[in-house]
Amino acid sequence: MPPKERVESSEQVLQAVILADSFDERFQPITLETARCLLPLCNVPLISYTFEFLAVAGVQEIFVFCCSHSDKVKAFVKQYGKSSNMKIHTIVSQECMSVGDAMRELDAKQLIDTDFILVTGDVVSNMKLDKVLEEHRARRQADKSAIMTMVLKKASPQHRSRAVGDGSLFVLDQSSKECLHYQPVKAFKSTRQDRRMTMGMEIFDKHPEVQIRNDLIDCQVDICSVEVPALFTENFDYQDIRADFVHGILTSDLLGKTIHFHEVSDVYAARVRSTQMYDAISKDIISRWTFPMVPDSNLQPDDCYEFRRGLVYKERSVVLSRTCVVEEKVVIGANTQIAENSVLSNCVIGKNCIIGANVKIDNAYIWDNVTIKDNCVVQHSIIANGAVLEQEVTISKGCLISFNVIVGANTTVPAYSRLTTLAEDEDDDSDATLISDPAVVGATGRGRSFKEAEVSDSEDEEVDPKNKLVNRLAFDLSILELEHQALNDSASDFESEGSDSEVDTVNPAEELDREIAQTLERAFKEGHDIDIAALELNTLRMASNSNFHEMRKRIIPGVLRNIDLTAKVGSGNTVKEVLARWGPLIGKMIHDEADQVDGLFILQRACAGLHGDISQAQKLFAPALRYFYDVDITEEDSILGWYHSEKSRQGTETERKLRDVATPMIEFLEQSSEDDEDDEDDEDDEDE
């Protein structure tokens, strides 16, 4: 087999850029001591998964971009590079604060000379990129403005492997594989903007058919063309690649660039963006959705995991006591010892751990060199290297226990705590010593509770704190749902104080009122055709998801309001004129008999409502009733039905009196119907 050739032509060397820094603080306090991309996922460092993914794709040169803890990343990369035939370079940059900064740096260094694959340091995927690369290159040949191809994976909305807080809305054109619009979707939407998507209409000029998709996992694997870093340099306010770059490119007409997508559905791709995703992706790996990147493939050179039924992965040197129970979905690293009667399920345990007797570990991630003494309970948490849990400790769900923390005996660590041994350095004093907090780690423990730095006010968009919480491990959305209702009102109060946004916690009924009133007003003012007005009203009905009854309730009074009893004939506002002009509109809202009866009730109430005095009201009511009968908006039977019903006799005095006003008409109708019947009988008799 000939050795790997150093190809000169830039088209053939496939390059990739790994952004090894996530530029966020979701894994703190663990990431205060080491880089995010080096954290173990099922006992393999995160960035190894990315390297494997790129190796399978045939990448030959990789640039790893790191900011925090760059020395550790560099050391790891060097070690990895020894057993791999990809050339891996590390680029260290201390001042980068976001993806945008990293891209600008990349552009400044002029290292990329071809289309490249852009990934983050925490992507787990078994995807083969050949097809995507081919498509991208073909597109580039044809059209130089196609600057990026995003890889998206289809998954149902409630899927556990979707980042709960980082949803996305994509507007896609399937025929040209173009992405037309992008919008980030938050889990908890507090502003009106959060709940709406705004898209320019000019998109439809070129793309008559679009799909609006909320069922895609964005793995942030992009094939970028060589112009992308330059674009970042040009627009120096681009920070995030999706929210800023993609959104910006797509909404800007000047640049004229297009972004494409590639949808995959039967391969796995996800990013460990938060502790919640860490949990979900670990489970996916254990359940073998990421095959062949599974623990028993032993991708790391020194591993020797063996697979057992029940999705149990054990290295050969593990010592299990006779009575311990390893239930299912467990990964145990080398040289770990588990003592009597312990129960493990759904967990990952690293190398060289010592687990005592009667320990229950469920849904937890325990890294290397951890000691857990007898009778502990660990639920749904992450425990980092070197931690020690003394006897009878209970770790409740959602905890992050950082390196070397010692939790003293008989302590219960409360849910969602984050413990660290790093001292608090308020004055950036690196000599600060740790003051252990006995409330959290017990009397003999070592560690304190970590609090995030306060979010600075320079953010112009309001960050709903719930959106940050939602990314956390074991975060139970149902708890917050209940609180959400209560918070909703307070959120709206908060809104109305300072911001200029409209009243958004609006009663839908009132809104409908307003809409109809506005529509009618417009119709009256501009003298619309009945059909057009009816169309508008129907659309409103459908948009507000209401029914004809609701429409009638508003339209009938709306029309009647135009009537000025004192108006002169010829002004257009007399009863007859208004009815003649706008009556058919009411007719469009009335269909069957029930509608008709209902319409009459509304008429009754409306007239009474508009004019409290019976003498005025009847001037409105009687002609209207007559009109309805004349133009067959309401038929004889309905009028009789209305009259004879109990409901028409109820209500205010004016309403009851209005009913009486109708009496002569009713008598007339009944009379004529008898005549009709007689006539019919006669006719029948004659026929026979």
């Binding site: 998954a155 359940s287 073998r288 062949p292 697979f307 979905k329």
Partner: protein, 359 residues
């Protein structure tokens, strides 16, 4: 040496990432690598060369323990090496007929290890003999012959086809096996018969097989895996391919094969397995799971079913273990043999010291 290491690393990586799968692809890649390693490394004695090859073999086997063909090829090569050295030694010792104080053991065609209990020690001491320079090229030549054998493996198997299949027979098979495909196509030249193919979900390789067979003009029917037992009574023979053959005559074959073989046994229908000898491994099955791989469950239950995947464990075992009592005949490139005869083939092709690559 470091170049050799690079090549070995490369193959190890490909095996681990499953970029190279399938017995024959893997065998060819291993052979190529071994030819390079043997021709480019320094060695003078048998033990040295054996150690070099065993080290490489150990790494390759650990990269993907279910690809048994890798280990088989390494063992074939080691056997060839030992034979060549033995021959070279005996030619030398014939030349120098020095009398020794030790009495010579009566010449045996094959060394019996039982005899070794009382006789000489098992491992031959490293004699610093002056081997002819042609030894290296002889070994390489022998290995190239193995390579040729691999490339022409189908021919020898195909030629037995018309003996095994008679006219108007109904043959049943499962999944996609190139060996069985060639076998049946060859038989179709002279005989007219029908084939039922079980589709072997979830990979549906049976459907591809049916397509290939029908292109060759064979009347083929695809049946779902669940219908195998129901249709078995109408079948005359079951012809199977396999991923590997174990030393006791058991098979590691595509999932669904065990069911087909058991159905055949129930109806007393002969089961014939077509396989090249490179798939014969001297290892024994410790249990049904030893040589099995669990694939991505996506083809069984889609990953999009978000609600279900949390509550349900989905497995997708790729292989089945079939006990030797279900198999009646093995058709190999060295003729047809019953399962009980396999031990002989193993003894002839592999050395007992090479069954494990531990040094």
């Amino acid at each position: 040496m470091s170049k050799n290491n690079e090549l070995v690393d490369d193959l190890v990586a490909k095996l681990k990432r499953r970029q190279l799968v399938g017995s024959s692809t893997v065998s060819q890649a291993t052979l190529k690598l071994l030819i390079v390693v043997i021709s480019k490394s320094n060695w003078t004695t048998c033990n040295q060369l054996v150690t070099i090859v065993k080290t490489v073999g150990q790494r390759l086997v650990q990269a993907n323990p279910t690809e048994l063909a890798v280990g088989n090829i390494v063992r074939r090569v080691l056997h060839v090496i030992r034979e060549e050295f033995h021959e070279a030694e005996s030619t030398i010792s014939h030349k120098n007929q020095a009398s020794t104080s030790e009495f010579h053991a009566a010449p045996l065609t094959t060394s019996s290890s039982m005899y070794n209990l009382l006789g000489e020690t098992g491992s031959t001491p490293d004699k610093n003999l002056q081997f002819p320079s042609s030894l290296r090229s002889n070994i390489i030549q022998e290995i190239r012959e193995i390579k040729d054998e691999l490339e022409n493996i189908y021919d020898n198997i195909k030629n037995q086809a018309s003996l095994q299949i008679h006219s108007n027979e109904i043959i049943m098979t499962i999944g996609r096996s190139k060996t069985v495909e060639e076998f049946l196509k060859m038989a179709a030249v002279k005989r007219k018969f029908q084939v039922l193919v079980a589709e072997s979900a979830p990979s549906y390789s049976g459907q591809e097989m049916a397509l290939e067979l029908s292109k060759a003009g064979i009347e083929t029917t695809v049946i779902p895996d669940s219908a195998v037992f129901a249709v078995m009574s109408r079948v005359n023979k079951v012809i199977l391919g396999t991923h590997a053959v174990l030393a006791n005559g058991g098979l590691v074959a595509i999932s669904g094969t065990h069911m087909m073989a058991a159905a055949a046994k129930h109806h007393s229908i002969p089961v014939v397995v077509c396989t090249g000898l490179y798939k014969l491994s001297p290892l024994y099955p410790y249990d049904e799971d030893t040589f099995n791989v669990q694939f991505n469950p996506d083809s069984v239950l889609g990953f999009e079913e978000g609600d279900l995947i949390d509550k349900v464990t989905v497995t997708n075992p790729y292989y089945d273990y079939v006990s030797p009592e279900f198999v009646n005949l093995f058709i190999t490139n060295q003729g047809g043999h019953p399962p009980s005869y396999l031990y002989r083939l193993i003894v002839e092709n592999y050395d007992p010291n090479d069954h494990s690559f531990d040094l």
